[in-house]
Symmetry: C2
Subunit: 241 residues, 2 copies
DNA sequence: CGTACGGTTGAATTGGTTCAATCGGGGTGG
DNA sequence: CCACCCCGATTGAACCAATTCAACCGTACG
């Protein structure tokens, strides 16, 4: 059971006002935890799910694989992200969720999940908000894959991951952990690992960022955001209510 | 005011059980209609919205434009699709919605929308379902842009549009209206209109499909689905409840 | 009857892939 | 403690799918 430093609370309270009572709900959700080894599926494609998984520690990704083995990563999941919030409307997965590093997850049965979350309006809204932000990120990935070149795509992804890591307190002095391999980056950005390598090197030479031993060092954020045409509005950190 | 052949009802009742009372709600939503000319924005990027738009007639698209003018279409909207279901959680658009043809839209103020839809559980679930299917489609677009070649992308898009058109009763003898220009197709699939042209021609020569004067004729659906690795599960037509 | 827009085609170019080889470091077994 | 191994990163060279540039066609429409 995790009570302190719950990453969901960190992430959500940044934008949505949460009372102690709301926080209590999120801590209740994290009572049962599960460990998954790195490079294993947390939820496999096509499976039917009866509960909600919430990532508490480690990195994961949503992905789909084609018959010929080509894999497209659809989203990167970091602590505080839900793996399958749609449970309850439909249950069959249209994609897989895989652990990138070893991960710790909270698991809550669907019925219990609904009972807990529906008891508080702020919690329901917070969940709806995260789901909508995920959609927004998905749209920005589409733009990257559709109209940005390799350099711009990588810059955009790094800006996104930096911002999200920052929201859960994982950015220190412009460094943050980023356990994706160049192969993972390729599968995320629709590029080959070979080309990812060349772009990473080029960005390092240009003194924009460095990636080494699983950590990213941002050297020139301003310029990176310019290259990526990065717009913070995709995170929707100003709300209506 | 539109009462008969409401496309939202056609689309939703295909999967979600809707009573007469539920249908009544959807018809209420369509009381106020708005016309938008072709190639005009229905909702512009960055704008703040206070009501929900529902496409009743014509085609539209979600899109984002980069500073250099490159446009990425994020989703195609056909009758029965909502333009901005997220209103109420956040209001500022992170993308635009543009009319492709002349369109008829229903407009409902946010407060009224919530009042109407929240009165019936089936309606709320149906709305949540469409939102989740939209997300699923967005994921399948991401896969297309990431790992499919031009031929596969086009085949996939055509299969998707055929299925969705079919759900609102617009497919007749393997023909359906499809008012996207080759430029629109390019902006949807992350390809140039020139290359779209070549691929369209090639698929016609191979007796797979024909596109002429705004209608698609599917000649060999089986083969098209094979090329695209098209999986009907992305529509989530089997539900939990 | 001109004009504008969408579709069509050819030729040259290019961003990214493919294939192949090498490097380097962390973990493991003897 | 060291040799080995494996995985991920790195680099070069040849290749190709899609782009770019440019011209031309057909037709709908004011």
């Amino acid at each position: 059971m995790i009570e302190l430093n719950n990453p969901v609370i960190a992430k959500l309270s940044k934008v949505v006002g949460l009372s102690d009572g709301d926080n209590h709900i999120f801590n209740e959700l994290c009572k049962t935890t599960i460990l998954v080894n790195s490079r294993r599926d947390i939820i496999s494609d096509g499976s039917r799910q009866n509960g909600v998984y919430l990532l508490l520690d480690g990195w994961a990704c949503r992905y789909k694989t084609l018959k010929d083995g080509k894999r497209q990563i659809i989203a990167i999941l970091i602590p505080g992200d839900f793996c399958n919030l749609h449970v309850g409307i439909y249950d069959q997965m249209d994609h897989a969720v895989g652990a990138i590093t070893a991960t710790t997850l909270a698991y809550v049965d669907r019925v219990q999940f609904d009972a807990l979350t529906q008891s508080r309006l702020a919690v329901m809204r917070a969940l709806r908000w995260t789901a909508l932000v995920d959609e927004s990120l998905s749209r920005s990935w589409l733009v990257s894959l559709g109209v940005r070149n390799a350099r711009e795509r990588l810059a955009h992804l790094v800006c996104e991951l930096r911002e999200r890591s920052s929201n859960i307190g994982l950015v220190k002095n412009n460094h943050f952990p980023m356990p994706l391999t160049q192969n993972d980056l390729g599968d995320s950005l629709g590029l080959t690992p070979v080309h990812i390598n060349r772009v990473v090197r080029a960005l390092a030479v240009e003194q924009l960022l460095k990636i080494e031993r699983g950590t990213v060092s941002i050297i020139n954020l301003i310029e990176l955001r310019k290259i990526a045409e990065f717009d913070n509005n995709i995170f929707h950190q100003s709300l209506v209510y």
